[in-house]
Amino acid sequence: MYVSLNWLKEYVDIGTITPEELAEKITKSGIEVEGIEYVAEQSSNVVVGYVQECEKHPNADKLNLCQVDVGEEQLQIICGAPNIAKGQKVAVAKPGAVLPGNFKIKKAKLRGVESNGMICSLQELGIEEKFVPKEYAEGIFVFPEETEVGADALALLNLHDAILELGLTPNRSDALSMLGVAYEVGAILDVPVRLPKEEVNVSSEIAADYVSVKVDTELNPYYGAFVIKDIQIGPSPLWMRNYLIAAGIRPINNVVDITNYVLLEYGQPLHAFDYDQFGSNEIVVRRAKDGEQMVTLDGQERTLKSSHLVITNGTIPTAMAGVMGGANSEVSNQTKTVLLEAAYFDPAAVRTASKDHGLRSESSSRFEKGVDPNRVKKAGQRACQLLSQYANGTVLSGVVEFDQLDKSAATIEIDSTEVNNRLGTEIDNDEIGDILRKLEFEFKQNGNLFSITIPTRRQDITIFEDMVEEIARIFGYDNLPYTLPQGASQAGGLTERQQLKRDVKNYLQGAGLMETITYSLTSKERAELLISPEVKGKVDSPVQLAMPMSEEHSTLRLSILPELLASMSYNSARKQTNIGYYEVGTVFLSDETTISKQPEERLRVSGALTGDWITHPWQQEKKAVDFFVVKGIVEGLLEKLNLTATYKQAKMDGLHPGRTAQILIKDVAVGFIGQVHPSLQDSFDLKDTYVFDLDLEFIFTIHENEPSFAKIPRYPSISRDIALVVDEHVHAGDVKATILKAGGELIKEVQVFDVYQGEHLETGKKSLAFNILYLDPERTLKDEEVEKSYQAILDAVKKAHQAQLRA
């Protein structure tokens, strides 16, 4: 809502307050002033001039040579506007004048002839093209004949005005009118509101003889029809045009301008029909028929539905109620009799129609929010008065109406003690009474009890809390004290899960990875990539949005990795090729084909690494990320969480078939490590990339956070090495498991310390060397015990893996 301060002054006396101060006060009381516009802030020295002579420029076809009387002097001005003519009163920027954009006017010679100033169009004076009346859009503006020569043209065009741009919250539709804003400003500045008078002399003819009103729907509780004869269509008065432009509405003609003016003034949309084109003398309001068609004012053919409301002439629609009029009954230059509608349409019905047709008008946006039931008829009367005054109208007696509108005001009882308790204040009863008076709310007081009549213009106030806010905002939020809650204090904190989540992040960061946050919504194709087997087993298909904005963000992720790879691809395209990323986030699992319930949201952690892991150029050290870098990070993470995992050679879509391990904890699959399959890497434009993915949700449930104390050993351990030759396909992990199993409980640790293949070994064979550490925390070990275990291990590995002791 744009509020011209000059216009506002017609209803409230704002005194000497500056626009900035007023804006600050309005903002602090609840309506945000988003900006203040001064159209002619930089302009000066523009006056009304009378075009005494206007001839063709001797040396230019399209230019005119004008002699213009600007009061104190006569100026010769060359003007190129096509609509310039002798006898016009025009806006003249005299030499020395400044126009918007810091455009300075100087004396000049145009094609050899002197020009002492410029005759201005409205655009040149700073008015946006779209608000300039059409007849002046292509040329200069022409003032009404009676305008005084030499007067300040900017003042006459109301360009010294300040326009406040209000950002209204949805509840404050009362401020979608000048009167509403006037009440607000009146309350803030403690000044009374002056309401316009709707009085008008009416003719002896009776409107009801010209038209009847029939309403066939519950969606239109009030319909008032006024008839105004003898209309002379023409421009509306300059002041009205100025105000409309300030409010962002282009002036058209006096009838249309008056309905718009009243809409802005009262917040009540009106519609003017050409009575003679209406097609009947019967107004019938009803729901549209499904498929019914009409052409609206904008020339569009509209197909209607039964949820839309129409005004008809008994046969065909003449307006889409509250949204837009019909072309068939539009007011034109030939209009003689106006049929004026002032109605209350159901907010939801107007919203539906406006949405279905993509037509959001000044009118629909007000009906949608509910207009003041007590201003509907008054607005009609106000328009009649203005039509009589500025369009030569003869207003017929009476309003033809259908009226089932509830116009009663609600009453809210408040107890000042409760108000103070809620606010933490000590506002006394007198001050509360004063606030209500400023708001112009009527009330009865009995001690601490106030019975307040809520004016119908304030449809947003319905409960005690609304009234508390009303009092608080006029009292001033700045004046509320700062207190801290009095309730019993409790210890805040993170849950174990939340703490673990932080621990995981901290570990991974310590391990050299950077956290990312990617989108949960991905494309359908990406959603199918790199899904961990244990996820795949629980899912029917990825969850899709009903109405995605783009294919790119249409599907909920089942893995963090695809978007993570996309991020890496983004970096790699920017020459950032050494990357270690991780992300902790949810994936969305649904086992339904047609979704009926919330998907299961499981927390996972994923990582992706590419490029060099170690780079230390001057010592010629450089090591690319490989499988074991990633595995080391995962092992460290699980160790941190006090968990032991096993790693199983696996094959997975999207991963290198020979470089993928499934991770199991306590025999439950919890994720994987692997190299991204070269063809998938290619599709992301990535070089060798390794990933991991873990089900944190499961890990958090089984993790034991309290490490139990283990005695620090006091007895020496014994170490034995064993080098075994096995078939090259035998897994070190399996051999290790055999060793652990066969070697007995004295084994503390088994570590692979060498893997060898090549010279001195048969083709297809490899050597695996293990270091076995024996320890008994309670006593010193005997050599025989270790020897016995060693032999048992040898037997077992021979049997299980056909392993030979390496010579």
Binding site: G424, K505, E515, M547, N571, G580, F588
Partner: protein
């Protein structure tokens, strides 16, 4: 003999003094103190001495040995030290060469901010609650006083999956769920951080996915001044002691009265500059007193309980605090962007 011993001592000490290498010392040790050395020889000749002289000479001989040994040891130590120093000198490295880099990761800026907010409110006795990102229409809207047909519930504004399920548009449903869980029987003091989603086209100031941290405090006799006090404490701790807050009336369907909170501009401290667009204030969060309908629907009797709620956007806070100029940076994961905030 006495003279001979004294002579030997002087001779040996001179040699020790003159010795240059560790091997010289060993030679001296063998020459003077060895079994075939002159002192041993002197001692061997003691048989010829009188009974009275023998202990005197014996004692002297031992003193001489000791004196030579002590001097040898001292000199040895000195030479070893010198030798070590010489060796170390040859081991000199160029300390200006760069060190071997340690891989250092770090948190995402949004995580840092969310955790900082969490920790501040935990300090004030709040618990941290989480909830599903795919929400039911009921918890996302209905329970928050946004009944069906409410303009804010346009299908166009939210990512619906079915008519009843959508990606949550705020973290407020976690508040409704928590209140429901507590069954109207005990106070609620919580914050709920998380991802939220809106049907916006991504540009410099809009993101279809973003982060929210909301807070809720429900108890008996909660006052609006408590909201002001808690937010003030938060703002001062988070943004700095020198920052002021200002509340302005606003509107949210789930609070009444509702507020917007501004903080004084860090650049101009409330006087107005280009950072705050001349207003002196920067909008940080929204909040208000919990709407009685919301309490009621969650099983709290609004006659007995009331409370306050607030919500803020870590992206916006990060943009203000660090001058990040485009919200998409948070989700593009440009390594050069992420790295900047590992120090934060």
């Amino acid at each position: 003999m006495k003279e001979r011993l004294e002579e030997l001592q002087a001779e040996a000490l001179t040699k020790v003094e003159e010795a240059i290498y560790l091997s010289d010392l060993q030679d001296i040790r063998v020459a003077y103190l060895g079994k075939k050395g002159p002192i041993t020889e002197v001692l061997r000749g003691m048989g010829k001495l009188s009974k009275e002289e023998r202990p005197v000479i014996g004692e002297l001989a031992n003193k001489v040995r000791e004196a030579i040994a002590t001097e040898l040891d001292a000199k040895k130590e000195r030479l070893e030290k010198e030798e070590l120093e010489k060796k170390l000198e040859t081991e000199t490295i160029d300390v200006t060469l760069p060190g071997r880099p340690v891989k250092v990761g770090g948190p995402h800026l949004l995580t840092s901010i969310v955790e900082e907010i969490e920790d501040l409110f935990i300090g004030m006795g709040f618990e941290v609650r989480e909830g599903p990102e795919v929400e039911t229409d009921y918890y996302n809207f209905e329970a928050l006083n946004l009944p069906k047909g409410h303009p804010a519930r346009d299908m166009q504004d939210s990512f619906y999956i079915t008519e009843e399920l959508l990606l949550r548009t705020h973290t407020s449903p976690v508040q409704a769920r928590t209140m429901g869980e507590y069954q109207g029987a005990k106070p609620v003091k919580m914050i709920c951080p998380g991802k939220v989603y809106r049907r916006d086209t991504d540009d410099a100031t809009h993101s279809h996915q973003f982060t929210q941290v909301e807070g809720l405090y429900v108890d008996k006799n909660v006052r609006m001044s408590d909201l002001k006090g808690v937010l003030n404490q938060f703002a001062k701790q988070f943004f700095g002691e020198d920052r002021e807050i200002r509340l302005r009336p606003s509107f949210f369907p789930f609070t009444e009265p509702s507020v917007e909170m501004d903080i004084s501009c860090k650049v101009c401290h409330g006087h107005g500059c280009s950072v705050c667009k001349g207003t002196g204030w920067i909008e940080i969060l929204g909040g208000g007193m919990v709407h009685p309908r919301v309490l009621e629907m969650a099983g709290y009797d609004p006659k007995e309980y009331n409370g306050f709620a607030f919500g803020m956007g870590p992206e916006r806070i990060a943009m203000l605090k660090y001058g990040v100029d485009d919200i998409r940076h948070f989700y593009t994961n440009d390594v050069r962007f992420l790295k900047q905030y590992h120090k934060a």
